[in-house]
């Protein structure tokens, strides 16, 4: 990543970055916000359209009740005030993918205000406040054919026009690219927990613009802010913000002034550049939408919605720490999704081993999932089998090593661990006589090291233990084997 030239190392401590994020989240409703067209992703161009979302003469919008519910749930989940009355407004501008020549959005009476999201970066816990959440309709897609000779046209697909969005505006409480990254991660997590949004920046179901400014530390007044667009991943958000902070500081330090403008992030070159086409400042001429009644929500409806909210990430994490006695860090990993948290809880219950269950999932299960890309829902070992396996290790029925072998087998063989132990002959060798026989074989095969041990070299004991384990293909009971080996070696030295 390119760092602006001339930035002194201590300049960062002189200035405080001030960042606010505007996030647009596509709601997972079946139909568009103002008409009953499907919202399915990837359909043939202009196949999911109707007179209403095409903006034909004479049509009128009708509000989707589930879009309101999803937006209100999001507000409840972040502790925002869900207003009993909110109003739609028209945002007027011309663009080919905006069929009516205005976007129906919310302006001075949004659905939700306030609330916040808790993040922690390293050891520091912090609350990022929210200004508001409001409902609006998405625009269609304008496609500019790249690299085709002599082509100077744009193609317009209106399938996306009218898909419901919520716009989530944060307070300017964010202080670094890293905090922004964590904020977005947390926000996405909440939206996915609520099942109101897929939260996929690469696919466009989650979009983010960043407003960045800096001010001398201790100053209350804000500096001039720039807006950065074209951020297509959480990592780009982090990088772009870091870049822009450095750029603004270097500019100010060298005597320049920050200009209020919109910048586009170029991820290939790692820079944010002024948008080439200098549009006149938009005058959106907002006014209340006359075709839609105010959104009036009964408090009983809101209460009913609140009751349907799932347990949210923070509450779930705290409960697992409290009830299962696992560390914070573990709980954080295990509550990445509701499905993973459920998987953990069922495994912990089945095995009776909350800490061991946590370790198994965080290491073995997740290692496999990272390679195969399985979701926890599609992972082949379900909590019942994993729980049984974890229980078998805890009770000493099998060693840790054998358990790992069983785990591998269980990825493709649907049988339970007990049945597989029988089938593959993986029972531990615990019988004293069998162990003594094994030990004698190993000593016979390794006369040198045996002799060395007998002459006082303790170190060779471990080597002999290893050989015996190898010979038994890991099945020898570790403590009992060691006892047997020591006994036989000592006996025969006498």
């Amino acid at each position: 990543m390119t760092k602006p030239a001339g930035l002194r190392d201590d300049a960062g401590s002189k200035y405080e970055p001030v960042i606010g994020l505007e996030v647009h989240a596509q709601l997972k409703t079946k139909t568009k916000i103002f008409c009953p067209c499907s919202t399915t992703f990837g359909a043939a161009p202009n196949s999911q359209v109707c007179p209403v979302c095409l903006g034909l003469p004479g049509v009128l919008p009708v509000l989707n009740e589930r879009a309101v519910a999803f937006a209100a749930m999001t507000g409840l989940a972040v502790g925002a005030t869900v207003h009993p009355r909110s109003i739609f407004a028209r945002k007027n501008y011309f663009y080919p993918d905006l069929p009516k020549g205005y976007q129906i959005s919310q302006y001075d009476r949004p659905l939700c205000e306030g609330g916040g999201v808790e993040i922690h970066v390293g050891e520091v816990r912090k609350r990022i406040g929210l200004v508001r959440i409001h409902l609006e309709e998405d625009a269609g897609k304008s496609l500019h054919p790249e690299g085709r000779e002599g082509v100077n046209t744009t193609r317009v697909d209106l399938n996306r026009a009218g898909v419901p969005l919520i716009e989530i505006v944060s307070e300017p409480d964010i202080r670094s690219g890293a905090e922004a990254y964590h904020y977005l991660t947390k926000l996405k997590q909440i939206l996915v927990y609520l099942d109101v949004c897929d939260g996929n920046m690469e696919e466009g179901s989650l979009r983010c613009d960043a407003n960045v400014s800096v001010r001398p530390r201790g100053q209350a007044a804000f500096g001039t802010k720039t807006e950065i667009k074209n951020l297509n991943s959480f990592r780009y958000v982090e990088k772009a913000i870091a870049y822009e902070i450095d750029r603004q500081i270097a500019l100010i330090e060298s005597g320049g002034r920050v200009v209020q403008e919109t910048l586009l992030w170029d991820s290939a070159r790692g820079v944010a550049e002024t948008m080439r086409s200098k549009e006149e400042a938009h005058d959106y001429r907002y006014f209340p939408e006359p075709d839609l009644l105010p959104v009036d929500l009964e408090s009983s409806w809101v209460d009913g919605l609140r009751a349907t909210l799932p347990e949210l990430p923070d509450a779930l994490r705290e409960r697992l720490v409290r009830e299962q006695g696992i560390p914070e860090y573990d709980a954080e990993v295990l509550t990445e999704t509701r499905a993973l948290a459920s998987y953990y809880e069922e495994t912990a219950l089945r095995s009776g081993q909350p800490k061991h269950a946590s370790n198994w999932i965080m290491t073995e299960v997740n290692a496999v999932r990272n390679k195969t890309g399985d979701t926890i829902e599609s992972f082949p070992i379900r909590p019942d089998r994993l729980g049984d396996l974890v229980g078998m290790v805890a009770s000493g029925r099998v060693s840790g090593k054998i358990a790992k072998q069983l785990f591998e087998i269980m990825l493709t063989d649907p049988a339970g661990p007990e049945a597989l132990v029988q089938k593959h002959g993986l029972l531990p060798i615990e019988d004293a006589a069998a162990l003594r026989a094994l030990v004698r074989e190993v000593i016979a095969a390794n006369p040198g090291p045996a002799a060395e041990f007998r002459s006082g070299k303790e170190k060779t004991f471990a080597f002999l233990v290893g050989q015996a384990m190898k010979q038994s293909r890991g099945r020898a009971h570790p403590e009992k084997l060691q006892a047997a080996l020591r006994a036989v070696l000592t006996e025969e030295s006498a």
Binding site: G55, L56, P57, G58, V62, N92, G101, Y102, D283, P290
Partner: protein, 503 residues
């Protein structure tokens, strides 16, 4: 069919025609033929239509006759021809709103009112001329033609629904639909000597009405009697899920209840509003108004004084709110998805050239005015302030309608003016709306009814205003007047003069 048979059909009421089709005394086909023949004679002179639908009308009429033959129940408008203003969408039929920018445009869907009319077995016979995008008071702003007043071909029929008013007056159809935003049904009704109703805002679905000013637009009927007005209003009113501003509160009007005497009914008269019109109010209108008051007193109504103190601000209020909403509603006409497109280099050039060439002067004026009223720095002083004055005007009406059952006002300051007389000064044209705009801003129902004729034989209409969703009381009052005066039964010379010669 002989000319005499045609004449007897075209002079009948819609109620009588529907009854005769239901009973089998007439076929829907002969009814349709009679009106089509009448329009063949007069429409070329009056230029009432932008698009006539003779073939589909005959097919629809035949379908009604087949239904009857099969023993099916026929609807309340069985076989009755009805014309529609060209800003109401009919699937597959050219709908231009009187504008070049929609030349050739055919909607892929029917307006809600069209579905209702079809269900009632009405026969659609054509799309009538109007001021472009319903903006105007004379139908001179149509990009295609100028409709003539059937009573005097040198005069305007009124606007913006001039074609729909004229076609009913000329007996080319017994019924028609127009749209009223600031008077566009009521004023042409008065100029043409027919009934014109602006329903309560929300009584009739706007789905399929091309929007001009969303918080003011209402589709309304033209007819030649109070009963016929009620008949068609009953068919088109009611809640539509596709228009969330439409209401279920519009109850059907009982036609027989219209025959009840109006003894003791309180008719409110806001005299000050006439004084505000000053010299602009023609003596013939004032005389007709006073005569109507006396007529109501004679049949037992109680005349009460009411005040509408903020009505004098109505024109200014309207000419900020309506253009503002219009400037936004007309942004969709950009040449991208439908209608006419003019290429001119890049995208911006295309927008500007398309809209520059496609919109006429009055439409452009109102878009500019509306854009200005909403623009940064001006919103509070113009649009927001106008909305606050609207609150005051609405309250005036609701207060007055608590003290009276119906209000009586003029509807126009003069009878029909001459073509070209007011086209140079937009503001002069706007001042015509002095009596019609207040009820639009208040959202209350208002009815224009034929009262009398002036010395030159031009119709004079007057206005009744009612409580929200109480169209019935106004129609009952109008019916009481009609029983004594029946101004709507006089026939314009062009209707009878058109006959003669071989057919």
């Amino acid at each position: 069919m002989s000319a005499a048979e045609n004449r007897s059909i075209v002079l009948e009421s819609a109620e009588a025609l529907a009854a005769s089709v239901r009973s089998g005394a007439r076929s829907a086909l002969e009814v349709a033929r009679a009106f089509l023949a009448q329009a063949d004679r007069t429409a070329p002179k009056l230029e009432t239509y932008l698009h006539r639908m003779p073939e589909s009308a005959l097919r629809d009429a035949e379908a009604v006759d087949r239904k009857r033959a099969a023993g099916e129940t026929l609807g309340p408008l069985a076989g009755v021809p009805i014309a529609l203003k060209d800003n109401i969408c009919v699937r597959g039929v050219p709908t231009t709103c009187g504008s070049k920018i929609l030349e050739g445009y055919r909607p892929p869907y029917d307006a809600h009112v069209v579905e209702r009319l079809r269900s009632a077995d009405a026969v659609l016979i054509g799309k009538t001329n109007c001021d472009e995008f319903a903006m105007g008071s004379s139908t001179e702003n149509s990009a295609y033609r100028v409709t003539k007043n059937p009573w005097d071909l040198d005069r305007v029929p009124g606007g913006s629904s001039g074609g729909s008013a004229a076609t009913v007056a000329a007996r080319e159809a017994p019924l028609s639909l127009g749209s009223d935003t600031g008077g566009s049904v009521r004023q042409p009704a008065a100029f043409c000597g027919v009934y014109g109703l602006k329903p309560t805002y929300g009584a009739v679905s706007r789905y399929g009405l091309v929007a001009f000013a969303s918080s003011l637009d209402q589709i309304g009927p033209f007819a030649r009697s109070a009963r016929d007005t009620a008949l068609v209003q009953n068919v088109i009113c009611g809640r539509d899920a596709r228009d969330t501003t439409s209401r279920a509160d519009a109850r059907p009007i009982d036609l027989e209840a219209l025959e009840k005497e109006i003894t003791g009914l309180r008719v409110g008269v806001p005299r000050a509003i006439l004084d505000e019109a000053g010299d602009g109010l023609a003596p013939s209108i004032r005389a007709s108004f006073e005569a109507a008051i006396s007529a109501f007193e004679r049949v037992g109504a109680k005349i009460v004084d009411v005040a509408l103190p903020h009505a004098k601000y109505a024109i200014a209020t309207y000419y900020l709110i309506a253009p503002a909403e219009a400037s936004s509603n007309l942004a969709r006409y950009d040449g991208v998805r439908y209608g006419v497109r003019r290429a001119d280099g890049d995208l911006r050039g295309m927008y500007e050239a398309t809209r520059g060439a496609g919109f006429g002067r009055e439409v452009k004026r109102r878009i500019l005015l509306g854009t200005y009223a909403l623009s940064a720095g001006y919103y509070d002083a113009y649009y927001l302030r106008a909305q606050k004055v609207r609150t005051l005007i609405r309250k005036d009406f609701l207060d007055a309608l608590a003290a009276a059952d119906s209000l009586l006002l003029p509807i126009t300051p003069t009878p029909a003016f001459k073509i070209g007389e007011k086209t140079d000064d937009p503001l002069a044209m706007y001042l015509n709306d002095i009596f019609s705009i207040p009820a639009s801003l208040a959202g209350v129902p208002a009815l224009s009814f034929p009262a009398s004729f002036d010395a030159a034989g031009l119709p004079i209409g007057l206005q009744l205003v009612g409580r929200p969703f109480d169209e019935g009381t106004m129609l009952r009052v109008a019916r009481a007047y009609e029983r004594e005066h029946d101004a709507a039964s006089r026939v314009p010379a062009i209707v009878t003069a058109a006959e003669g010669g071989a057919r």
